[in-house]
Amino acid sequence: MRTRLRGRAVLWLVIAMLAAVLVAACHREERALTPDAPYSQRARPVRVSDLQPGPKQLAATALENPYEGNAYAISQGQQLFDQYNCSGCHFHGGGGIGPALMDDEWIYGSSPTNIFMTISEGRPNGMPSYGGHIPDAQIWQLTTYVRSLGGFEPKGATAPRSDAMQARKSEEPK
């Protein structure tokens, strides 16, 4: 009877551990095959700097990225990145005409909100404003992919390579 009880306890422990892992995995595996993120989410202003004058730090407006940590969105973003010719300036994240996206320097901030605004509203000196030209859902997919280039997205959701020529080896630090 004693071994029986201990066996049960072990069994439940294993089940609880599995359940914890699995719940965490769920969002990563979701697939938005029919995206419907509305256009209206483009609220502003958004702070691009962490520095604020005076003693009181005001809260920044933040938009919520619906695809944070979602593997399918990162993959879709990767396709769009090539297809909308982002790679024309940024190359495959290494930078060229536009700044590099796989280093840790972020001129206009690296939060999902910042990157979304960068793509949507554009930035001086060459970054076009895509808002309205491409749907917001796709901007979020691009945002998520760009963040994965910078290593901000969980590794488990990010593909280690694409089917293109490789800019760097997968084990090189991001």
Partner: protein, 652 residues
């Protein structure tokens, strides 16, 4: 010679001793320490059957989806996962393991030994298979089942087009189940070559055992190819290697070559045991030895060899050089010859035997009717031009189900009925058995025959829906309707088996008057199989036995000893002690599972799993007191160990 007739003065005492020595462990923990081949064989079969039911439910869902054009019952995402998991389940979690389960259960019985050669490895193989299947279904229920097909072609299954952990799940599941396949192959080969009872020379091995030997050899060459392939794929997906990336010098076609180098032999791995079942059943029910035993064995071996030279006929549409393709056409046509010879030999056996009709024979008749159709459409598929048209259409779906259901499932269901009295000690209801056969035969043909026509009329495979006006709707409805009969057939069989287990009449040792050694044992067989290792004096052990057939004496009853014999003539060589219960196979399976599953999510889990597995292996190989004692005795050269000299044969 039969066990039942043996009555030495000490028989009761010996039997009690053996029962104690070979007893199964008790309790909840005990369940995980089991190493007996019959218990594990049954577990294999029951687990595989549960997966078969799951695969069947998936098939039913697909048939519902395809009942009308542009149906919204399942979306593309669900459908892709379901057809992938259906294929993976039926191939990896049902067809191969259920045959292995039969091998594990029957081979030691048919050879007259007490257990398989490596009992702990056997247990390990079962758990690793179970974990692989549970893992796949866990992910599937979380809506993260693999969705790139059971073949998972790159680049669709690669890192760019299959995000998330879906395909990784598939790749690791392959590793688990194929590891299990390899483990069983090794132990069955060693058992078949080294543990046959005296007198069972190579030319007296029952055909079912021969089929398992041939399959085991095929597994040893085919499974590594797919494990390599799925591991390359997992590496591409997890750590960014470039095996299949065209831009970096990899090759997606290379993936297909490796996959089908496994994938085609896999078909033979699945239906060659079916040929073995057919031979066993026909021998018993015609009451004569199989006509052309030597031809049967050699054609099995030839099939195994040819099976490895036909894989390219899955790739004719990729545009390989024509001369090379013609070679594979020739090979694919040639493989008909050995199978043809087997069929003719069976016809000759029935022709000259005295046939009794019962459920197992009905299933064999179904095997002939269905499987030959599959073989002949296979001949059509071997021709490159025809292949170009029907490849990847419903014609192939029909063909492969005619081959696999006809060649493997019909004989398998026959085998379920044939050995059911041996497992349970009771007879099933003959009426229900025959009902389940007719339901399967009718349902199967209704479901799959129309698919030939659908394929020729242009319906491709793996489509989650089709459009109205293509002329495919009516035939799809017939197919879906037929699936109901198949479900009823399986249901009838299950009810029959469940009810008969309690209420069936007692079967006795040999209800079918069959010929192989397991029928000399009581039903169900005792945990130790044979008190005394038997001897045989002919191909049909039970029929050819003399009234005073000798048996082997001089072996100890108080420990798990088996008699090791010589490979060719099965002359006694020495005795070997087999290990008893052990928790370590289960522990090792857990740690391997942790390492391989964890690696999908975080590479370091692989190392952690490896270290833990190392510890588990130390536990596995840690000698017991008994083994240490034996070792000391042997080293010091003192007499008294049982490993000295061969036991003698005494007439009863």
């Amino acid at each position: 010679m039969t066990e039942l007739l043996v009555e030495t003065p000490d028989f009761a005492r010996e039997r009690a001793l053996m029962a104690e020595t070979w007893a199964s462990p008790r309790g909840f923990i005990g369940w995980f320490t089991e190493t007996g081949h019959k218990e594990l064989g049954i577990r294999y079969i029951v687990t595989a059957f549960v997966f078969f039911l799951a695969g069947g439910i998936e098939a039913a869902l697909m048939r519902i989806q395809l009942m009308k054009p542009e149906n919204h019952f399942l979306g593309p995402d669900a459908y892709n996962q379901i057809f992938t998991v259906h294929g993976a389940t039926m191939m990896f979690l049902f067809a191969v393991p259920v045959m292995e389960g039969f091998g594990v259960y029957l081979v030691p019985l048919m050879l007259g030994t007490h257990n398989v050669a490596f009992p702990k490895l056997n247990a390990f193989g079962y758990y690793i298979y179970l974990f692989g299947g549970v893992f796949l279904y866990t992910m599937f229920f979380l809506h993260a089942g693999p969705d790139a097909g059971w073949f998972s072609y790159v680049p669709l299954s690669g890192p760019q087009y299959s995000p998330g952990k879906r395909v990784d799940t598939w790749a690791q599941m392959i590793t688990f189940t194929e590891l299990s396949g390899l483990v069983v192959a090794v132990e069955l080969l060693v058992t078949s070559f080294k543990q046959r009872c005296p007198g069972m020379s190579l030319n007296r091995i029952p055909l079912f055992v021969w089929s398992m030997i041939v399959v085991s050899f095929m597994i040893m060459f085919a499974m590594p190819a797919v494990m390599l392939d799925s591991t390359y794929l997992a590496l591409d997906r997890l750590i960014g290697t470039q095996f299949f990336n065209r831009s970096e010098g990899g090759d997606p076609i290379f993936y297909q070559h490796l996959f089908w180098f496994f994938g085609h032999p896999e078909v033979y791995i699945i239906f060659i045991p079916g040929l073995g079942f057919t031979s066993s059943i026909l021998t018993a029910f015609t009451g004569r030895r199989i006509f052309g035993y030597t031809a049967m064995v050699s054609t099995l071996v030839v099939t195994a060899f040819l099976g490895f030279s036909v894989w390219v006929h899955h790739m004719f549409a990729t545009g390989l050089p024509q001369l090379g393709e013609s070679f594979f056409t020739a090979a694919s046509l040639m493989i008909v010859i050995p199978t043809g010879v087997q069929i003719f030999c069976w016809i000759a056996t029935i022709w000259s035997g005295r046939l009794r009709i019962a459920t197992p024979v009905m299933y064999v008749i179904g095997f002939f009717i269905v499987f030959i159709v599959g073989g002949l459409t296979g001949v059509m598929l071997a021709a490159i031009p025809i292949n170009w048209q029907v490849h990847d259409t419903y014609f192939v779906v029909a063909h492969l189900h005619y081959v696999l259901i006809g060649g493997a499932l019909f004989p398998l269901f026959g085998a379920f009925h044939f050995w059911y009295p041996k497992w349970t000690g009771r007879m099933f209801s003959e009426a229900m058995g025959q009902t389940s056969f007719w339901l399967l035969l009718i349902g199967f043909n209704m479901t799959f025959f129309p698919m030939h026509i659908l394929g020729l009329h242009g319906m491709p495979r793996r489509v989650y829906t089709y459009q109205p006006g293509m002329g495919w709707t009516a035939l799809n409805q017939v197919a879906s309707f037929g699936a109901v009969f198949m479900a009823l057939s399986v249901l009838t069989m299950m009810i029959n088996f469940f009810v008969s287990k309690k209420k069936g009449r007692l079967a006795g040792a040999n209800p079918w008057k069959a010929d192989t050694l397991e029928w000399s044992l009581p039903s169900p067989p005792p945990v130790y199989n044979y008190v005394h290792v038997p001897t045989v004096s002919g191909l049909n052990a039970v029929w050819d036995a003399a009234p005073d057939q000798p048996y082997v004496t001089g072996m100890r009853f108080d420990r798990r000893e088996v008699l090791v014999t010589k490979t060719l003539d099965a002359e006694p060589d020495h005795t070997e002690m087999l290990p008893g219960h052990s928790i370590w196979p289960f522990v090792l399976a857990c740690t391997s599972f942790l390492g391989l599953w964890g690696a999908i999510f975080f590479a370091w889990w692989f190392s952690i799993g490896a270290v833990l597995s190392g510890i588990a292996l130390i536990g596995w190989f840690w000698p017991t007191n008994e083994e240490l004692h034996d070792h000391i005795v042997r080293e010091s050269g003192e007499p008294g160990g049982t490993n000295v000299g061969a036991p003698e044969k005494h007439p009863a």
